[in-house]
């Protein structure tokens, strides 16, 4: 017989219960009653809404359609006045009395308001729901706000408003911020970062009274006499489980509604989940245990066995620029030892607390990359005696197979974020895998996880491995995309050995599964073909990303940016005048100086591109290829021309290099720099190829990075003359073009093939010359200005095909 379930409260925990029940098509008729006039939204994402990174609609988890589709009867904006457990009915404030077989409490929590004098003034709010968030979002740079409470929620509120330019002060009663999650040292670093964001922080500050004027908050008075003026006062000092209704119904309550391991209350037909419950003396504010509870409650309702177990929790702060992680217990105590690592220059702090050779607590600030690994150790109670010496440096420094490489990922909770770009959690990936996405490409297609920057690809593969067990082998190299089973390396070999010189030839000979590839494989194939067959293959613009097809960078509003080349960063008054004239003529909204020593004109309309290029061409300027997987710029310092320390003509060499390499296509972007002495003012040691001039010649180093990864270059070779330097750089560029995987920067390629191999190839004089010669052959086709070509041959394609604005109005 169909059971009638009444759910009180539409929050994250009950929402998850409903998902489990309806996913399992349980034979249960659900009525959802919510005092707030709306359904379930992702409350933990209110901070990104406040800071403007997300909108409310983006954080709605269940909309009307969702409830309708799953046959959930909704009574939003209604309150329950009485519960009659004997008759098994509830009565709402609309006067309706409803029968239930099972009742589920999800009444959540109430923010705690300190009963200071003046706490009931208008303008004193908590940080709990959308209304509170909207109040804070109404604040502007003309407003002052005081936040009482330097915990997770209070700091997210403060940072969110500070990001909107509001003058924010945080008042915290304890000696350092987030004292429940952080130790003093990490609290210090956090405070420093918040002060840098313009937030005023008062620690060890006791609030005495809230002052008002005409019924509205005016200032907060501290007990040392300090008066902090404010237009809004936010109290974020904790939550109290909301037990009133349960208590009135005679259900056992303590701090929260008492529940057992099955989430049953003292009445076997009444369950409770979320922030309103108390389990073994604990109450809950973070989302992970709430989801665990929801899973158990759903199972209990479906008469399936399940047990709620409290797990170790970890905390991350959702404030941009404050990377912070804490987990476990890190109080000092007898028999406990600390391992601490500090790097003051980078603002990094790490502390592990050990007891009996097991990590029981971890605090990390500034660099939290290894937090999941440490968190896994805490949960697994891993014995660390064998790696004690290097433990603090993280997994990369552990020799041998001390730990199962998958254990960290296996230990992650379902709501652990795997793909930061797309906000995809482990649970979503697991669900996709269970639903049949059993390889990386399929997971990416269904969830988008690892589909943006790709740095989480390894993690996604590990989730696959953990979920599928022996059915999934982490591939040594994944196939290019869903169109083929072959890897990039396989396809490159085929193109060379089988002399495949057109795209259809590759599709045919390599067994492509789609008619004409996709947006992932086509740009890669186009590059491989033109790199290997520069004379025979004709570049296919339709297989290029828009930036390379239109020789300009697309912006978020569909306009483009235009960056003319400034050879070696040298320009002239005439060039600057031409750029200024173009900016005026085409009403360019933003003119920016780039990090590559040139000028970016942002916000140019697509239709205007050929005209602005033509104007710049007339002043002698050409495309800067600021959009290409190819040579970008050669950054220089002034060298011997002006600098009293310069050892060689670094500017001259930079210009020569740029004039030699420009227009060349490479697997990813290629940035160079030449510094005239080891003081390295051109920052050559973080470039793909960096040249440092010394008295005895030129140090050429490769494999730097200053983006998502940060790496210093490694010395490839030192040569005595400029001509040799030019030849080496052409040769190493060609070697990279011929061998690297599409979208691998030099440092990634170098990690695969090894610097030694690259050095061998360019040290050998015969091989070096052969490589440089092949580079020149390719450049005979590509060393030209694409702008000039498009102006003369393709200008028409930048205009609309037809204008029907008049036609349609008839």
């Amino acid at each position: 017989m169909t059971q009638k379930l009444i759910v009180i409260g539409a929050g994250m925990a009950t929402g998850r219960v409903l998902e489990h029940l309806t996913d399992a098509s349980a034979d249960i008729e659900v009525t959802l009653i919510n005092a707030e006039p709306r359904g379930n939204y992702n409350r933990i994402m209110l901070s990104p809404v406040l800071s403007g990174d997300k909108t409310y609609t983006e954080i709605v988890t269940h909309d009307d359609a969702w409830y309708a589709q799953r046959n959930v009867t909704c009574r939003f904006g209604q309150k329950i006045t009485t519960i009659d457990r004997a008759a098994k009915t509830v009565t709402t404030d609309t006067g309706d009395t409803l029968d239930y077989d099972k009742l589920l409490f999800g009444t959540g929590s109430n923010p705690f308001i300190i009963p200071l004098p003046g706490h009931d003034l208008e303008g004193v709010i908590a940080y709990r729901d959308l209304e509170d968030t909207n109040r804070m979002m109404d604040m502007t740079s003309c407003n002052k706000v005081v936040v009482i409470g330097g915990g997770l929620l209070g700091l997210e509120a403060a940072a969110g408003m500070a990001a909107r330019g509001v003058d924010v002060s945080v008042v915290h009663i304890m000696g350092h911020l987030m004292e429940r999650q952080l130790d003093e040292a990490a609290g210090y670093l956090l405070r420093k970062a918040l002060v840098e964001k313009g937030i005023t922080v008062h620690c060890q500050a006791n609030s005495k009274e809230i002052l008002g004027k005409d019924g509205h908050v005016k200032a907060l008075l501290l007990d040392d006499g300090t008066e902090l003026p404010c237009d809004l006062l936010v109290m974020a000092v904790g939550i109290r489980p909301n037990v009133k209704l349960a208590q009135e119904a005679g259900i056992a309550v303590g701090k929260g509604i008492h529940v057992d391991d099955q989430m049953l209350t003292s009445d076997a037909d009444v369950l409770a989940v979320g922030e309103c419950v108390e389990h073994n003396g604990a109450i809950f504010g973070l989302v992970a245990p709430l989801y665990d509870q929801a899973k158990v409650a759903a199972a209990t309702l479906m008469n399936e066995p399940a047990t709620f177990v409290q797990k170790e929790l970890s905390t991350k702060l959702k404030v941009t620029g404050c990377d912070l992680f804490s987990a476990g217990d890190f109080a000092d105590g007898e028999g406990r030892e600390d391992i601490v690592f500090r790097d003051p220059a980078r603002g990094v702090y790490r502390r592990l607390v050990l007891e009996n050779n097991v990590v029981i607590g971890a605090v990390m600030y500034g660099d939290t990359a290894d937090s999941n690994w440490f968190f896994g150790m805490i949960r697994e109670k891993t014995d660390i005696s064998d790696m004690r010496e290097t433990l603090i440096f993280g997994p990369a420094y552990q020799g041998g197979s001390t730990a199962d490489p998958l254990s960290a990922v296996a230990a992650l909770p379902r709501d652990a974020e795997i793909c930061g770009c797309n906000g995809i959690c482990k649970g979503q990936i697991e669900d996709a895998i269970t639903a049949g996405a059993t390889d990386l490409g399929a997971v990416r297609a269904v969830t988008k996880a690892s589909g943006s920057c790709g740095t989480c690809t390894g993690l996604v593969e590990q989730v696959l491995a953990v979920t599928l067990g022996d059915d999934f082998v982490i591939p040594a190299a994944a196939s290019i995309c869903g169109c083929t089973d072959m890897t990039h390396e396989d396809v490159r070999c085929m193109i060379k050995s089988q002399e495949l010189k057109t795209m259809p030839a590759v599709w045919q000979e390599c067994g492509w599964k789609t008619s004409c590839g996709c947006h992932v494989c086509r740009p890669a194939l186009n590059f491989y073909l033109l790199a290997d067959w520069p004379i025979e293959y004709r570049d296919d613009p339709q297989s290029r990303f828009i930036n390379e097809r239109k020789h300009a960078n697309i912006q978020k509003d569909g306009t483009f940016s235009v960056v003319p080349r400034m050879w070696g960063g040298i320009t002239t008054p005439d060039e600057l005048r031409a750029i200024a004239d173009a900016a005026d003529k085409y009403m360019v909204p933003t003119v920016k100086v780039t990090g590559g020593q040139r000028i970016d004109l942002l916000g140019v309309k697509g239709e205007d591109l050929p005209a602005i290029w033509s104007d710049l061409n007339k002043a002698g300027m050409v495309s800067g290829h600021a959009y290409s997987k190819g040579l970008r710029t050669v950054k220089t310092c002034v060298g011997t021309d002006h600098c009293r320390f310069g050892t060689q003509d670094s500017t001259g060499l930079g210009i020569k290099l740029e004039k030699t390499l420009w227009g060349s296509w490479t697997p990813h972007k290629l940035k160079l720099a030449v510094s005239g002495c080891p003081r390295n003012c051109a920052e050559a040691t973080c470039k793909d190829i960096g040249i440092i001039c010394v008295d005895s010649g030129y140090q050429i180093s490769i494999g730097g990075a200053a983006g998502m990864d940060l790496r210093e270059t490694e010395l490839l070779i030192q040569v005595p003359t400029e001509d040799e330097a030019m030849e080496v750089i052409k040769a190493v560029t060609q070697l990279y073009r011929e061998n690297a995987k599409y979208l691998d920067r030099i440092y990634k390629w170098m990690a695969k093939v090894g610097l030694d191999w690259i050095t061998q190839q360019v040290e050998d004089p015969g091989n070096r010359t052969a490589l440089a010669t092949r580079f020149e052959v390719s450049q005979s086709v590509y060393r030209k200005d694409p702008w000039a070509e498009h102006v003369t041959e393709k200008a028409k394609t930048y205009q609309p095909l037809a204008d029907l604005t008049l036609e349609a109005a008839e």
Partner: protein
């Protein structure tokens, strides 16, 4: 009643590419596939209004240049886990000329 407006020659749109037609209410993107089929869609991705005409065309789909959402040219439906739909308009090719339905464009002007 359908009245078909002659827009341009099929050759004016590159294979696996797109061009724009301006209407009173923004632009309609005319796509041409590798098989020479022609489709007309609203030139705005349902995600962040990315200009679909600038995307890479593959099979009977286009990938938005801003965030790689993949949209079916036949139905306008967003593919994969993302959700949304782009308006599609009747288009046909007769004797090498691309034609659009005037009635739909008028509705678009009124809408």
């Amino acid at each position: 009643m359908s009245t078909w407006i002659d827009i341009a020659s099929l050759e004016d749109v590159p294979q696996r590419g797109a061009r724009l037609v301006k209407t009173q209410l923004g632009c309609v993107a005319i796509f041409r596939t590798g098989e020479d089929e022609v489709f007309a869609l609203e030139n705005a991705c349902p995600h962040k209004n990315g200009p679909l005409s600038e995307g890479i065309v593959h099979g009977k789909a286009v990938t938005c240049p801003l965030h790689n959402w993949v949209i079916s040219l036949e139905t306008g439906m967003v593919q994969g886990m993302d959700e949304g739909q782009v308006a599609t308009y009747p288009a046909r090719v007769i004797e090498g000329r691309i034609l659009l339905d005037a009635a739909f464009l008028r509705e678009r002007a009124v809408a």
